[in-house]
Symmetry: C2
Subunit: 239 residues, 2 copies
C-alpha cells in the first residue's frame, strides 16, 4: 500500500503481541485483505518482529503510536493476553481507538484484552470456551455463540471462529454481497473431519481432559483478569 | 524450539514464497503447531522475510537448502504459485523431500506446485475451485472434495480448506484422538454466515462473476502450467 488512503477508505487495525495465537488474526486477515477499498494494518507496540505461540514470527506494519484512527480494531487471543490485560501500551491504544472506531472487536481470548480496557461493560460478548467464565469480571454478559454482535462490539469464539467473525465484520461494513464473494473466493465451505469442535458437541471426557490440563493456566489467568478488572473500576460503564 | 529434535519426533516443513496466500499456511500451522512431539519449520528459499498476498510479512525459520528431511511437506497456494511452478529452488526442494517424506501435501493452488514438481502424476488431488481444470496438465485426477488423501499425497481445496486438511493430516500422523483434541482446542465448530462457500452451493451468478473476473489471470496461469508440465515430461510417473 504505497498510495495514501482516501478519506472514503476503510481502515482496519489488527493488533499483534508476543504469544498471540497466530490463526486468531490470520483467519480474519485473509477476509479483510480481500475487502475492496480497505486498508489493513498489522499493528504492534513497535516495529520489532512479533513471535506468536508456536513460533510464527511476523514483521508488524505500524507501531501503536503511529496508528491512524481505524474503523475497526481487532484483538487476537493466545497465551499473550495474560500480559496484555495489564499492558499499558495496548490498553492505551484500545482506549484511544475506541473513541472513534466503528467497531472494537476480538477473536478468541482477545475479548479479555478488550475487557481489561473497559470496553465490554454492559456488552454481550464471547471468547474461547475455556475463558468464558472470565468475561463477567469485566462486566460483559456471556453469550455462547460463534460470533456475537452487540452494537459497536463484535467478538468471536475460539481461534477458528475468526473466519466466521471476519465474514460477519465484512458483511456489516460492506454488505452481504461483498462478504459472500469473499467467502466463495476463500472457498469457505468447511468440512471438519470430526464432530466435537465445541464443548457442546465434544465428548464430555475430552472436554474434561482439556479443562483439567488447562486448570492451572486458567487459574493464573483469572488472577490477572481480576487484578486488571480492579484497575478499571473507576471507569464509567459503556452503557 | 531450542532443544534438539529427538529421532522420534515428527517434522513438518511448511513452504513459504512471495505472494502466497497467508491463510493457506496459517490454517494448518495452528493445527500442526499443537501436535505433540512435532517440530514445525517455516521454510523459504532464504531467511529473508517473505511477503504474502495482502502484505503479511513473515520471517522464515529454515532455508530450503538447510531443511532436514521432513515427514510432511506442505505447500500453500496464491498468486505466487505462478512463479513457483517454474522456480528451480522450490522444485528442487520438493524433489528432494519427496524421496523420504511420508506425505507431500498442499493447500489451495499449492497443488499446482506439487504438480510442476512431477509429484501428482497418477494421483487423485484437489485444489482451489478456480484452478481445478489445471490439475490434469500434471497428470492428476481431479476430485472435487475438501481434502483428498491418495496414498502419500494429501491435497486440500481453496484457502480455508487448510484447517480441515490440517486436522486430517494430524489424524493420519498421530491418530483421531489427538486430532479431536486439537479440533476442540482451536474450537473448530464452524458457522459460516452464508451458504455458498463452494461453487456447488453458491449462486451461479456469483460463481460466473468471480470466474470472469479471474479469467485473464487463469489464462496466464494455464500458459505457465502448460510450460511447467512440459518440463517434467521426461520424468517417470509416480505410479
Amino acid at each position: 500500500m504505497t498510495t495514501a488512503a482516501r478519506a472514503s477508505d476503510l481502515t482496519i487495525g489488527m493488533v499483534m503481541f508476543p504469544d498471540m495465537t497466530h490463526l486468531d488474526l490470520a483467519g480474519p486477515y485473509d477476509v479483510f485483505s480481500r475487502m475492496p477499498k480497505t486498508q489493513v494494518h498489522l499493528l504492534a507496540a513497535t516495529l520489532a518482529p512479533v513471535r506468536a505461540e508456536g513460533g510464527w514470527t511476523t514483521i508488524p506494519q505500524v507501531a501503536f503510536d503511529d496508528a491512524p484512527a481505524c474503523d475497526v480494531i481487532c484483538v487476537p487471543g493466545g497465551i499473550g493476553v495474560n500480559a496484555m490485560m495489564e499492558d499499558a501500551p495496548v490498553l492505551r491504544l484500545l482506549d484511544r481507538q475506541a473513541r472513534t472506531a466503528r467497531s472494537m472487536t476480538s477473536v478468541c481470548t482477545g475479548a479479555l484484552v478488550l475487557g481489561a480496557a473497559g470496553l465490554l461493560r454492559g456488552y454481550r460478548a464471547t471468547t474461547h470456551w475455556l475463558s468464558l467464565d472470565l468475561l463477567p469480571l469485566f462486566g460483559a454478559h456471556v453469550v455462547e455463540e460463534r460470533v456475537v454482535v452487540d452494537r459497536d462490539r463484535i467478538t468471536g469464539a475460539g481461534v477458528t471462529a475468526g473466519i466466521d467473525f471476519g465474514l460477519v465484520v465484512a458483511s456489516q461494513l460492506l454488505g452481504a454481497d461483498v462478504a459472500r464473494a469473499i467467502q466463495l473466493a476463500i472457498e469457505y465451505d468447511p468440512a471438519p473431519p470430526f464432530r466435537g469442535g465445541s464443548p457442546a458437541s465434544a465428548a464430555p471426557a475430552l472436554v474434561e481432559r482439556l479443562t483439567l490440563m488447562r486448570a492451572q493456566a486458567q487459574a493464573e489467568r483469572r488472577a490477572i483478569a481480576e487484578r486488571a478488572a480492579r484497575q478499571i473500576d473507576g471507569l464509567a460503564p459503556d452503557s
